[in-house]
């Protein structure tokens, strides 16, 4: 029996990568002095309604992109 004939050593299972937890992004009404809007309401499911001093957090990247595109909203950065 040669080494070539020997059964190959079982492969070590490669550890599965845990999927990264989706990032939470948080939005609020723009704080700039020129933004006079004190509540913005839009969306259906979920319906979103953000007033002055309130925030809306989401882990859904598509929803976050929509929120980021709203002219009267800004992302809260820590």
């Amino acid at each position: 029996v040669t080494n070539a004939d020997a059964a190959p050593a079982p492969k070590k299972p490669t550890p599965k990568k845990k999927p990264a937890a989706p990032a939470t992004r948080t939005f609020q009404l723009k704080q700039s002095a020129e933004n006079a809007v004190h509540r913005v309401s839009f969306g259906a499911s979920p319906r979103i309604s953000i007033g002055a001093g309130e925030t809306f957090a989401t882990t859904d990247p598509r929803l976050a992109a929509r929120l980021a595109a709203q002219p009267h909203l800004e992302e809260v950065t820590s």
Binding site: A36, V37, H38, R39, V40, S41, F42, G43, A44, S45, P46, R47, S49, G51, A65, R66, A69, Q70, H72
Partner: protein, 331 residues
């Protein structure tokens, strides 16, 4: 038998957080001119060679809850309806608050789902859930009030025990409807006081996908957005007549150009109450003038339709000023 007065039916509205979760309480209630909301049970007959002498019975094949309701245009109600119809609203200012509603640039097919309670107080109540406002038709003419007819579609209808009908205290607006005396229509930015009748239709062309969900529909997606209407005006010169046919107010030959100009339909009561509906580029067609053999002033009517635009606020925008802090009636 206790007879019921016919003038007691009301509707109440609440905003849902998502398609499937009914609102727990209404945020506004209204009086009605007319209402055809109905659970919309769909039935057919299934004729077959059953060797029977009797016509076949009906079978239930689905449900399409919805219908129309008609109410007068009131400044402290219409902001909620415009948000529900168009899908996006910004609130600015206080006393009065200005509510600006339009299609949402980031999701133009979107609009909120409502829960609507159709209530005959003390008698019966149907709760419509997952409801959308699919169309608003506004009409008025000289000597009249301004009337609004809304078309509704809902996912589901539920009959409530009357004891479970919501408390409507404080949900009604105590104010008079807008009338013709409070209206100014501007054509091309100019208000000449020549309009004697208007009709405006804002249509989401709502669809229904019932799916295989029993008597509850899967969804009622908005379709293609269209804004159209008609005006009757004094026939004072040939400018619009030429424009509607040649594409220019001083045109001579017929052309393929469709004339367009802005139309603003503005109802105002003092400085704090207003409902303004604006089309930045209304395309004008079908200009017709009526003779009046009795010598009354000649009037002309024409149709208009909002032009497509990448700027959705140009297609249609409503601006409502009133005492309500927020169009979704949140605190």
């Amino acid at each position: 038998v206790s007879l019921i007065p016919g003038n007691v039916e009301v509707l109440a509205f609440g905003f849902q957080t998502d398609k499937s979760t009914a609102a727990t309480v209404p945020v506004m209630a209204i009086a009605l001119e007319d209402c055809s909301l109905d659970p919309g049970v769909q039935r057919i007959t299934t004729p077959e060679t059953d060797a029977d002498a009797l016509a076949p019975d009906d079978v239930v094949v689905g449900a399409q809850p919805g219908g129309t309701f008609k109410c007068y245009l009131r400044p402290d109600e219409v902001d909620l309806f415009m948000y529900a119809l168009l899908g996006k609203n910004d609130d600015t200012g206080t006393a009065p608050t200005t509510h600006t509603a339009n299609l949402d640039d980031t999701a133009p097919f979107s609009s909120p789902y409502l829960t609507i309670w159709d209530i005959w107080p003390g008698i019966g109540c149907v709760k419509y859930t997952g409801a959308r406002i699919g169309q608003l038709a506004l009409t008025s003419q000289e000597g009249g009030a301004v009337e609004s007819e809304y078309t509704i579609a809902a996912l589901k209808a539920i009959f409530l025990d009357i004891g479970d009908a919501p408390d409507l205290s404080g949900l009604f607006v105590d104010e008079q409807p807008f009338t013709w005396a409070e209206l100014a229509v501007s054509l091309g930015g100019s208000h000449d006081g020549i309009v004697s009748q208007y009709q405006l239709t804002i249509n989401r062309n709502i669809n229904r996908f019932q799916g295989d969900n029993g008597l509850e529909s899967l969804d009622i997606p908005n379709g293609l957005f269209a804004v159209s209407g008609s005006l009757t005006v004094a026939f004072e010169d040939d400018e619009l007549w030429r424009a509607a046919n040649t594409g220019a107010v001083d045109g001579t030959d017929l052309t393929t150009t469709i004339f367009e100009e802005s139309i603003d339909i503005d109802h105002t009561r003092g400085s704090d109450l207003e409902a303004k509906f604006s089309l930045a580029e209304a395309r004008i067609t079908n200009f017709k003038t009526k003779i009046a053999t009795d010598g009354k002033p000649a009037t002309s009517s024409f149709d208009f339709k909002s032009k497509r635009s990448a700027t959705l606020t140009d297609v249609f925008q409503s601006i409502v000023k009133n005492a309500q802090a927020h169009s979704d009636r949140s605190a």
